[in-house]
Symmetry: C2
Subunit: 104 residues, 2 copies
DNA sequence: CTTGACACCTCGGGACGCTAGGTATAGGGT
DNA sequence: ACCCTATACCTAGCGTCCCGAGGTGTCAAG
């Protein structure tokens, strides 16, 4: 599968993962892999900048935490993030049905 | 819906449209709009370069035709294009199920 | 003779995923 | 002691590709 296929959908998926419960970057990567059935095994260079982007947009907030000697930046959804997630799910439905209509 | 959502999926859709029957660029744009239920109303600056890309990759071939005084470049699938279309449909299935798994 | 549909083209900007490189801690194997 | 793996963070730069904007030309309707 082409790599650029992700474009524009990664943000929605990160929102969905963090929407399930606060998570730090590394955990987001693991959840993405798990929930996609192994299809999305994303490099850090893809996910971390996306997390920063979403925080800059005000859809996520972060705070530092420490677990077993390692520092983690834990993200959670803001109110705007929660509502954006709803919209993104609708967009996905629309988009995927449209693609299916063309591909069919 | 974000514009970049298309990334990586446009080529597959163009292949699918031309796979239904030879078509010129403008007609491809119309078919994309029609088959997507109006969701994909793409500008020429998006579709023409994609068509050229696909021809350069050897998935499409083109020839000039004239209809009511207007010149048209008519595209059709090559054998490799036909087989690429099959793969792309499989990729889409995989991709969309993976996204659904994450978004759910 | 102007407007709009048809029909083609390309340049430049912007968005963003990924490679490659960097830092640092914890734990297990040798 | 040393190394490797997993965990955990970061960023610079590259490449891809969608799109806006601009350009050319035909034909029909008003």
């Amino acid at each position: 599968m082409k790599a650029e296929a992700l474009k524009g959908h990664l943000d929605s998926m990160i929102l969905a993962v963090v929407g399930t419960g606060p998570a730090h970057g590394y955990a987001v990567i693991e959840q993405l892999r798990r929930r996609s059935g192994g299809v999305f095994d994303l490099p850090e260079g893809t996910v971390y900048p996306a997390l920063h982007r979403l925080e800059a947009e005000g859809l996520l907030t972060s705070s530092w935490a420490t677990a077993s000697g390692r520092r983690r930046r834990v993200y959670k959804l803001t109110r705007r993030g929660r509502s954006a997630l709803g919209e993104r799910r609708g967009d996905w439905k629309l988009f995927s049905q449209a693609v299916e209509g063309v591909l069919a």
